[in-house]
Symmetry: C2
Subunit: 144 residues, 2 copies
DNA sequence: ACGCTGGGTTCGCTTGACGAACCGTGCACA
DNA sequence: TGTGCACGGTTCGTCAAGCGAACCCAGCGT
């Protein structure tokens, strides 16, 4: 659903507060036609909403704002950003630090279980489809 | 980098312990040619490694295992899975619950700041490129 | 010698991404 | 009253990527 080339990038910009077509285009460098298409499908999927706005002394236009469904993708986007900051540092794009509004401390994303333990990675996790056993794949020792 | 259509799907299966070409192809339904291509580029990007194995009474073959770089994408994949379980439930694919190995409690992904506060969403976060101010976009009230 | 299996490659077609050019509405200014 | 401009698109032709079906090859068991 977010597998098309620009979808996640558009959402990332949306999370950073970019809402206008031209700003998105500038920020991403995507061709207009593709951006139009991607925005339309994000709207169709109810990840973005097209809302009218008007600047002082300008005609009415539309901007694209996150819906609840779209906002809920925030962790996924942050996870990818953190990965990029960790592994792709120095590729031209400076890392982006996220700070908790008010408290000012850096924000990070972590996996933890209901008992409060931090989870380090896929090895510490067992996946079961809705409680039942997963059929006999090679799944007993994941992710090595 | 993970924007090609199947990359994240391949990684998801990898996190679930699927390592073999044929199993990946069965699980994903991707055409062989595309899967080959995707696996090669994931290997080239050092997200997967191609390691030899041999089953009893079979010839030596290769399987694809996550590298550290690849394993580090786990939070991103989990985030997308949780999003899917929340918003796409009932679309045929049953949700997958992740349990902490040993403790048995369900695992979930959360955003929190260094002071220990849970962060609810993009509104509670201020993004700054490596500490400096972001240029005058429309970024003062993000993600509405 | 033969066939089976896993892991591919090749082929022809369709779909998507791309940049450049064009369009149309409505404001500002002359 | 007309001209220019900016935003937000659409259209067009080209080129890359995704697709299913068919084919291929190494090596094992029989």
């Amino acid at each position: 659903m977010v597998g098309e080339k620009w979808s996640l990038l558009v959402l990332r910009e949306a999370f950073l507060g970019v809402r206008r077509f031209a700003d998105l285009q500038r920020a991403l460098g995507a061709p207009k036609a593709v951006l139009t298409d991607r925005l339309n499908s994000l709207v169709a999927q109810d990840l973005l909403a097209r809302v009218p706005y008007r600047d002082e002394g300008a005609r009415q236009r539309h901007e694209y704002r996150l819906t609840e469904r779209g906002r809920d993708l925030y962790p996924a986007v942050v996870a990818l950003m953190q990965w990029g900051d960790r592994w792709l540092a120095g590729d031209g794009v400076p890392p982006l630090t996220l700070e908790h509004r008010g408290c000012g401390e850096p924000v990070s994303l972590g996996l933890r279980c209901a008992a409060g333990h931090d989870v380090g990675g896929p090895r510490e996790v067992v996946a079961t489809p809705s409680g039942r056993e997963r059929a006999g794949e090679t799944a007993d020792t994941p992710a090595g």
